[in-house]
């Protein structure tokens, strides 16, 4: 976290923007989001079957264009949660079958057209899907980043989480915006 703080300060100095705020800089916003992802991992419980071994790493998949750059890698480097390290994979829409190896799947805003198919693909799998697109959670994603008042917030779809057999800590939920699935079939024409 110290590093994280330090980075914020560095970036704030470099970009002349508000340290706390997201600002106009994507890097600053994704720095915060990277921290949030790491913290989500702390407050979400995966079922046992999600990991082949007790010390298997938490695999974070970044689907689509990577907005983080090296930021997320730096954030989770050398970190461990309950003995598990992090592994980051960068995925393409075409690697859909590889999604199943992930524990956390970050769906970049570049994949906003494939959201329904992605959600369908990982439905009932213990994968924490995190969207970066408005309406992602309502469409069946488990979590979604939103920016309100220049601050990064997040949404949680509890049904989706339930389907994925993921337990989200109440502490996380108190901070989250709970959203309902728009439709039972999960499909919504654009």
């Amino acid at each position: 976290m110290k590093k994280f703080g330090l980075l914020i300060v560095l970036f704030a100095m470099a970009l002349g923007s508000h340290a706390e705020g997201v600002g106009s800089s994507d890097s600053s916003e994704y720095l915060i989001k990277a921290g949030f992802i790491y913290n989500f991992a702390k407050l979400v419980e995966w079922p046992t079957i999600a990991f082949p071994h007790p010390d298997s790493p938490i695999v974070i998949g970044i689907l689509g264009d990577d907005p983080f750059g090296a930021t997320l890698d730096r954030t989770v480097a050398d970190k461990k949660i309950e003995g598990r390290a992090f592994v980051i994979k960068r995925l393409k829409w075409s690697d859909l079958k590889n999604f199943k190896d992930c524990n956390i799947l970050f769906v970049s805003s570049s994949e906003k057209d494939h959201i329904d198919s992605i959600v369908d693909a990982v439905k009932f799998l213990p994968i924490l899907t995190i969207g970066d697109t408005p309406g992602f959670a309502a469409r069946g994603g488990i979590m979604n980043f939103v920016v309100e008042d220049n601050k990064v917030r997040f949404e949680v779809n509890l049904d989706a989480a339930k389907h994925a057999d993921l337990t989200i800590s109440s502490r996380l939920l108190t901070l989250a915006r709970i959203v309902q699935q728009v439709r039972a079939d999960g499909r919504k024409p654009e």
Partner: protein
């Protein structure tokens, strides 16, 4: 008021109160302190727990930078009145969220500090606590409690404590006031009893014993002491009564004794009066007796001489009888007076230094006629050169005279021997006079009473030999007066030996010794050349005496000037500066003592020797005033002649060289004998 002088009642109550008070206060305070400390500890524990909960609840908010959520979490503290403020800090020290209790004035919030845990800051309890998310620190929580719970508790405790102390003190007072009587009542009773005993002095009172504790024993002891004192008191009163009785008896006795003493003093005074009367009578009588005797002896001697010259031998014998009787009477009177003086202790010693041989020769010469009378021979043996001795020459002479007279008296056709020698016994020089005779001797029975007064060996002897019977008694006392002794050895029919031992230097009191010195000095001062060598001044108011003295002294070859009064005598003495003055005492106007004083006070006349010729028997007085010789009337003419000759020789030894000296008295004696002793003259004519 001094605590120590409180009454025992108050002391007991005070002790109880203080003891219980101290116990209550200490235990309560101990409990209180313990409770407050533990309460404080639990307060901090509570606060830490609170911080943990808040931290836990706000961890996620912090992790996800959700200030409003964090603030909401913190605002849950509103229910906790004691929590004044709460602050969440990010990891880099920035304030993340803050909570301030609504009724707390805004204050400066402290900067986060590195030290975690609780601490007391002023009246606040503060906690710094890490906020962690899954073990990873995300920030720091600061909680501040105003400890109002603790303060309230302490206040409540103080109230409880004081009321507790008050109530327990009240009950302690109640109980101790009741219980102290157990101790104080017996002691106060004892004190009352003691005071009563000491004020009323009534020792019959007893103190009541309440309990059998130490005070009970004290009361027992006190009662025992009281009964002891009661007994003593009674005994003391008895003794006192007895003492009073005795004292009264003694006082009576003292009064009686005083009366007796007074009687005794009276008796003594009257006895003294009687004694003085007797002495006066004796002195008077001796004067009265001697004055006529003086005339009888003097004129009978004169008559005898004249009758002899006229050749009327038949009358001479009668005149001699008159003379003899007179002299005997005179001797008797002298002896009786001497003896009475000795008895009264009034006989003093007049010490002078004299030549022993000369003295012995004088006496032997005087007695020579008497010795010859009983056809006795005398042998005088002097052991070598005897020199001088210091003694009362008159008394030594009288002793020797008495012994020799006795020897001649009781010896017929025998030999009288006189031995004189000097010896040293026990470091002292003695002169021994030994008179032996071949007379009738003395029986042992007679010897026993020999030296007592009026005792002759036999009454018949007195008739046969005459004598007063006082001679030996006087000699004996004179010898003792001079610290000497006298003894006798005898065999009836074979003779007697009397031995007299007298110290060669008789010592008396210092005054007498000084007197002797004065006498020793006398000759050296007496070398007046202008002195009228042969003139003798006779001072006497009695014309008989003047007449007799003039005739007698003229016959001895002296010129005689007579004065009938003291004043005349003094005037004449200055005029003629005589060889010797003879002085009477009893004279009208200016008596002999006054004349003597004036003579001795005048430097021109002081050296003239004065011979007292008087009936007043007061030698001591005379010598004190400076007389040279003291003769009692009637005058022993032989003695007077010798004395005057001595003075002449002493004063003018150079002027009258060739004149008869006292040492060759025998050569001068024809004249003396002829004038002074008719008997001697008569013997010579035979």
């Amino acid at each position: 008021m001094n605590l120590k002088n409180l009454s025992i009642k108050r002391k007991l109550v005070l002790i109880t109160m203080l003891t219980s008070g101290v116990a209550v206060v200490l235990s309560s305070a101990g409990f209180l302190v313990y409770d407050l400390i533990s309460f404080r500890h639990s307060l901090s524990e509570d606060l830490i727990t609170q911080a943990e909960i808040i931290g836990y609840n706000s961890a996620a908010a912090m992790a996800f930078k959700d200030e409003s959520a964090a603030t909401g979490t913190l605002s849950a503290l509103r229910a906790k009145d004691d929590i004044v403020s709460a602050v969440l800090y990010t990891r880099d020290g920035k304030m993340f969220a803050q909570y301030v209790h609504s009724n707390t004035p805004q204050q400066n919030l402290p900067a986060p500090i590195a030290e975690r845990g609780y601490h007391f800051e002023g009246s606040y309890l503060e906690v710094f606590q890490d906020v962690t998310l899954n073990g990873e620190p995300v920030g720091t929580l600061f909680l501040q409690s105003d400890m109002r719970r603790w303060n309230a508790r302490a206040e409540r405790y103080a109230m409880i404590f004081f009321s507790f102390v008050l109530v327990s003190g009240f009950f302690a007072l109640l109980v101790s006031s009741k219980l102290q009587k157990l101790i104080s009542v017996p002691i106060l009773h004892l004190e009352d009893t003691m005071r009563m005993v000491s004020t009323t002095k009534n020792y019959e009172v007893r103190a009541t014993k309440f309990y059998s504790d130490e005070i009970g024993r004290l009361i027992d002891g006190f009662n025992t002491m009281l009964s002891e004192i009661q007994q003593r008191d009674m005994a003391f009163h008895q003794a006192n009564d007895e003492l009073k009785t005795r004292t009264m008896e003694l006082e009576g006795e003292i009064v009686r004794r005083k009366e007796m003493e007074k009687e005794l003093v009276d008796a003594k005074l009257s006895a003294d009066d009687a004694n003085r009367a007797k002495s006066a009578f004796l002195a008077n009588m001796s004067h009265e007796l001697r004055t006529p005797l003086n005339a009888i002896i003097g004129y009978s001697e004169m008559l005898e001489e004249e009758t002899n010259e006229l050749g009327k031998v038949e009358n001479v014998k009668d005149l001699q009888k008159i003379q003899g009787a007179g002299k005997h009477l005179l001797a008797l009177i002298n002896d009786v007076l001497d003896l009475s003086k000795i008895e009264a202790g009034r006989m003093g010693l007049h010490l002078e230094t004299f030549n022993i041989t000369q003295m012995v020769e004088e006496i032997v010469n005087t007695l020579h006629p008497t010795i010859l009378k009983n056809s006795n021979t005398i042998q005088v043996r002097l052991a070598g050169e005897l020199g001088v001795m210091q003694a009362d020459i008159t008394k030594v002479r009288q002793i020797l005279f008495n012994l020799l007279s006795n020897a001649t008296k009781f010896t017929d056709h025998g030999t009288i021997s006189l031995d004189v020698d000097r010896s040293t016994v026990e470091g002292q020089d003695w002169i021994r006079l030994r008179v032996a005779d071949t007379g009738i001797g003395i029986t042992p029975k007679q010897k026993a009473k020999l030296f007592q007064e009026f005792t002759q060996a036999d009454v018949s002897i007195a008739r046969k030999y005459g004598g007063t019977g006082l001679g030996l008694a006087i000699s004996y006392r004179y010898a003792h007066l001079m610290k000497g002794r006298i003894s006798v050895e005898s065999e009836p029919g074979r003779g007697s030996v009397f031995t007299v031992d007298i110290p060669s230097r008789v010592m008396t009191e210092a005054a007498d010794a000084a007197q002797a010195e004065k006498f020793k000095d006398l000759p050296s001062a007496a070398d007046q050349t202008k002195s009228n060598v042969d003139t003798i001044l006779v001072i006497d108011d009695d014309s008989v005496v003047r007449d007799l003295m003039s005739r007698f002294l003229t016959k001895l070859g002296f010129r005689v000037v007579a004065a009938s009064s003291g004043e005349e005598g003094l005037r004449l003495a200055k005029q003629i500066n005589p060889l010797v003055v003879t002085l009477d005492v009893i004279m009208p106007d200016c008596d002999g003592w006054a004349v003597l004083n004036k003579l001795k006070a005048d430097p021109e006349l002081a050296d003239i020797p004065v011979i007292m010729v008087t009936v007043v028997d007061n030698e001591t007085m005379g010598f004190k005033l400076g007389v040279s010789n003291y003769l009692l009337k009637p005058v022993d003419r032989d003695r007077l002649a010798i004395l005057i000759q001595e003075h002449r020789v002493t004063r003018h030894s150079t002027v009258i060289a060739g004149m008869p000296s006292p040492a060759s008295h025998r050569d001068a004696s024809p004249e003396t004998e002829r004038v002074g002793s008719n008997r001697t003259a008569k013997r010579k004519k035979k």
